[in-house]
């Protein structure tokens, strides 16, 4: 099949502002991934096209981008998800709310700053036991979903609250906080909840569900955010 790839391009050293470029690719398979198409453009047509990718299999979280209007991983988005007939168009642009460095590459600094704000690591100052700190399967299940995050930023950059205010910690940081708040072995839940109950914490979430729809790992993000909201209310 024939696919026209419409890509939002921008090189701040040369271009005054971002623009749309179109590339027509032939012999595209229905099962090709959008990432494959980007590779073909870069390798066969225009080597200056810039984007991030590493694993190419939905594990590293490097290639979140807005594809046909929705945040997805290019390596998990198949051509057949967007084009049914023998010909079609697919539109790719950078995720929104973070500064564009070049083409599809955005500056993730703000995103990772928010990530660090919630102290995304295990905190327990007690003397370590001789063997593992034990946890029941039920206790583990409470935060099972939040362990799946790959920090691709698809959720945070799909959130209108984050677009409007980049100081909002955003869904990804809240999911990471959830991971430790509800871990029975961790001891810093109240510190994290204090951070999340501040102005730029969970209360900027308007329960819009864009993040849940965008998550490539199918984490029920809005549910986890609501659980954190309730936990703040409970304490």
């Amino acid at each position: 099949m024939e696919i026209t790839l419409r890509i939002r391009r921008y090189n701040p050293e040369v271009d005054e502002k971002p623009y749309w470029a179109e590339y027509t690719l032939e012999n595209v398979e229905r099962t090709d991934r959008v990432l494959d198409l980007l590779h073909r453009v870069k390798w066969e047509i225009d080597g200056t096209l810039s984007f991030r990718r590493s694993c190419a299999h939905g594990v590293c979280g490097s290639d979140a981008m807005r594809i046909n209007g929705m945040n997805l991983l290019a390596c998990k988005a198949l051509v057949k998800d967007f084009v049914k007939g023998a010909k079609g168009r697919i539109q790719v642009e950078p995720i929104l709310g973070l500064p564009v460095i070049k083409d599809l590459i955005v500056d993730m600094d703000t995103f990772f700053e928010h990530y660090r704000t919630v102290m995304p690591y295990f905190i327990n100052d007690e003397e370590p036991p001789e063997r593992e700190r034990l946890q029941s399967p039920e206790e583990r299940a409470i935060f099972d979903e939040s362990t799946k995050c790959i920090l691709c930023a698809a959720c945070t950059t799909s959130c209108p609250s984050f677009w409007a205010n980049e100081t909002y910690l955003g869904p990804a940081a809240i999911v990471q906080a959830h991971r430790f708040i509800f871990d029975s072995r961790d001891q810093a839940a109240s510190e994290r909840l204090a951070i999340l109950s501040e102005e730029n914490g969970v209360w900027r979430c308007r329960t819009i569900y864009n993040c849940t729809m965008a998550c490539p790992r199918e984490i029920p993000i809005t549910q986890l955010i609501a659980e954190v909201k309730k936990e703040i209310g409970r304490r």
Binding site: W163, R206, I208, Y209, T222, A226
Partner: protein, 138 residues
């Protein structure tokens, strides 16, 4: 300012689902109602400060454009209330996220059901007012 413009533009461009649509409606309804309240508080205060202005405002509220505007006002109030309850419910029962599509559609339907009688009554008033002024003009 540019962030606000960007957010409004992208809210229209991003392919969010029902949740995003419900939220846009919620914002519009909320801001619209707030605008009306502010204006209304000001013109009601004129009873005290500027009675002639108050009379004028009340006459304005009885004019056709305002009667039609009132149709939107009631819709906005009902939708904002119903959808607000839905959001509160979904935050209270986080696992309802799996049913978010159905619940959002249910909020739309419930709004329509609650709005229907109000719409019929108000439409009746508007039509009456119109035929009355028609008679007067003749």
């Amino acid at each position: 300012m540019s962030t606000l413009v960007m957010t409004v533009r992208e809210v229209l461009r991003y392919r969010g689902k029902e949740g995003q649509l419900a939220w846009i409606g919620h914002r519009l309804a909320g801001l619209g109602t707030l605008l009306f309240f502010v204006i209304h508080v000001i013109d009601t205060s004129w009873v005290y400060f500027w009675p002639a202005g108050y009379e004028h405002a009340i006459a304005l509220y009885r004019s056709r454009p305002f009667l039609i505007g009132e149709l939107f006002l009631v819709l906005a109030v009902i939708y904002h209330g119903v959808n607000g309850l839905r959001v509160a419910l979904m935050d209270w029962k986080p696992r309802l996220w799996a049913r978010q599509r159905e619940l959002t559609l249910a909020a739309f339907v419930l709004t329509a059901v609650l709005y229907a009688p109000a719409f019929v009554i108000m439409m009746g008033h508007i039509i009456n007012a119109w035929s009355a002024t028609g008679v007067a003009a003749r």
